[in-house]
C-alpha cells in the first residue's frame, strides 16, 4: 500500500483553484521531486500532504500505520530563525515532540534518537554550538536531523537548497541520496532546480498552471513536458 495516495485532489483559496485534480502516489522508498514555477501550488500541495490544509476536492489517502504527523518536514527557513538563540541539540531534539503528546520533557529514547541522528548527519561536534552561528549548509543539516527525529519513513523537504552555495548544495543532495538509498527513507522534495531533480530523483511531479506531469524521470525526459523544460539543457548533458 502507498504511504500517501492523492486521488484527483484539488486545493483552492477563496474559490480560486490553485491545484486542480491532481493524482499521484508516494510509495515506500520513493524519491519524488515536485517541481514547477512559482504560483503553481507547490507549497499548497505540501501543506495538504502535511494535513495543514484541507483539499477542496478529491481525496488524500494515508497508508495504514502512518500518520501525517510522522512526516519529517523540512520547511523553508524563516527570517526569525536566522538570529534565534538555540543550541543545535535543542533544535534537533524538538523533532521528537510528536511522540510526546501532552507529556512534558523528553524521554531517554528521545535523547538517544537525537544523538544518533546528529551522528548520522555528521553534526555531533556542533551539538552545543549556537544555531545562528552555523553556515547555511550546517543549518540545513540541523533541520534535517530534527526531521529525522520526527520520522523514520518519510522526509518532505520544501526548497531545501535555497540560499546554499554550490558546494553545500552538492553535499546536501548526496546526503539525501544516502538517506534514500542506504536508510530506505522516502523522500519528497519541492524544488526549483529541475536539473538536480532529474539527476537525483526517481520520479517527478511537475506542476504547471494548466496541467501536470507525474511519472518516472525516464518518462519525464521523453514527455512533452520534460522536453519543453529540459530543452537545450539535455543537449548539454550529452556533450
Amino acid at each position: 500500500m502507498s504511504l500517501i495516495a492523492c486521488d484527483k485532489v484539488s486545493f483552492s483559496y477563496e474559490k480560486q483553484i490553485v491545484v486542480n485534480e491532481l493524482s499521484f502516489s508516494i510509495e515506500k522508498g520513493d524519491y519524488l521531486c515536485i517541481i514547477g514555477e512559482n504560483g503553481t501550488g507547490k507549497t499548497t500541495l505540501v501543506k495538504g500532504l502535511l494535513g495543514l490544509k484541507k483539499p477542496s476536492g478529491g481525496k488524500i489517502t494515508v497508508g495504514d500505520s502512518f500518520q501525517p504527523t510522522e512526516i519529517g518536514y523540512v520547511p523553508q527557513q524563516t527570517v526569525a530563525q536566522k538570529d534565534f538563540p538555540a543550541s543545535v541539540y535543542e533544535v534537533v531534539i524538538s523533532g521528537c515532540l510528536n511522540q510526546r503528546g501532552m507529556r512534558p520533557g523528553y524521554s531517554k529514547e528521545n535523547k538517544e534518537r537525537a544523538n544518533s541522528n546528529m551522528e548520522l548527519l555528521g553534526i555531533s561536534d556542533l551539538r552545543k554550538k549556537c544555531y545562528r552561528n552555523l553556515s547555511g549548509g550546517q543549518q540545513q543539516r540541523v533541520l534535517l536531523a530534527r526531521s529525522l527525529c520526527a520520522t523514520t519513513s518519510l522526509l518532505l523537504l520544501d526548497e531545501p537548497t535555497t540560499g546554499l552555495d554550490p558546494v553545500a548544495t552538492t553535499e546536501f543532495y548526496s546526503m539525501i541520496d544516502r538517506l534514500n538509498k542506504k536508510h530506505g527513507i522516502t523522500i519528497v522534495m519541492v524544488s526549483h532546480a529541475i536539473k538536480e531533480a532529474i539527476e537525483h530523483a526517481g520520479s517527478i511531479l511537475h506542476l504547471s498552471h494548466s496541467s501536470y506531469f507525474y511519472g518516472t524521470v525516464e518518462a519525464y525526459r521523453h514527455s512533452t513536458f520534460g522536453k519543453r523544460f529540459l530543452g537545450g539543457m539535455e543537449d548539454d548533458h550529452i556533450n
Partner: protein, 274 residues
Amino acid sequence: MITLIREMFSYPFMVRAMIVGTLVSVCASLLGVSLVLKRYSMIGDGLSHVGFGALALAVALNMAPLKVAIPVVIVAAFILLRVTENSKIQGDAAIALISTGALAVGVMLVSLTTGMNMDVYNYMFGSILAMSREDVVLSIMVSIIVLILYVIFYEKIFAVTFDETFAKATGINTNLYHMLLSILTALIIVLGMRMMGALLISSLIVFPAVTAMRICHTFKSVTITAVLVSIVSFIVGITTSYLYATPTGASIVIVDIILFILFQLYGLIIKKNV
C-alpha cells in the same frame, strides 16, 4: 545594608511590592523570551495602553480596576493575535492602532470625569504604593499559574517559537500555544501595570530577554539569564526608588538599561576573543 533591608520590609506596602514585583518580573521575562523571538515585542506595549484605557474606564464607572482591565486586555490580546494572523493590516500597524486608540479613549474618559489626578498619574508611571492586598493575592495566583504552565509546556513553547510550521506539521496545536501566550501576557501586563505604569510595563517583557540574548547562545540559558536579569533589575530598581523617592517603573528600567549595556559590552569582548 541589613538595617536598610529591615527598614524596607517593615512597611507592608514594600513587602507587597516586593512579592508582586518579583513574581511579575519573573513571569514577564519568561513570556518575553518567546515574544521577542517571535517579533511580538510591541504587543506588550500595545496591551498596556489598552490596560490604561480600561483602568480609566473603571475609574469613570467607579468599579474595581482589575475587574475591568483583565477581561478588556485579554480581549485585546485575542484581537491583536487574530489580526496579525489573518487580516490585511500588518501586525505592527494593528498594534499601533489599538494602542494609541485605547490610550486616546482613556485620556478622554479621564478628562471628562476625574481629570488628571494622582491615580491617573500612577497608572501611567507606576507606584509601589498602588498594590492592595487583593492585588497581591491575585498576582501570586496568576504568577504561579504562569510558572507551572511554562515549565510543563517549555519544550512546546520552544518548538512553536523556533519554527511554527514544523511544530504544526508534527501535530502541535500552535493556535493553542499562541492563545495561551497572549492570555498570560495580558494577565501579567495588567498585574504589573500598577507598579510599573502603563508606559513602562513592556520593558519588563523586552529588556531581560534582549539583554540575555547578548551573551547566551542556547534557548535554555537565555531563559534562565532573562529571569535572573529581571529579578536583579527589579530589586535594585525598587530599592533605588525607595531610597531616593524616584518613580518605581522608571528606576527599574534604568537598571535594565545599565544591565543591557554591560551585557552588550561583555558580548562584544567575548566575541573578539573567540
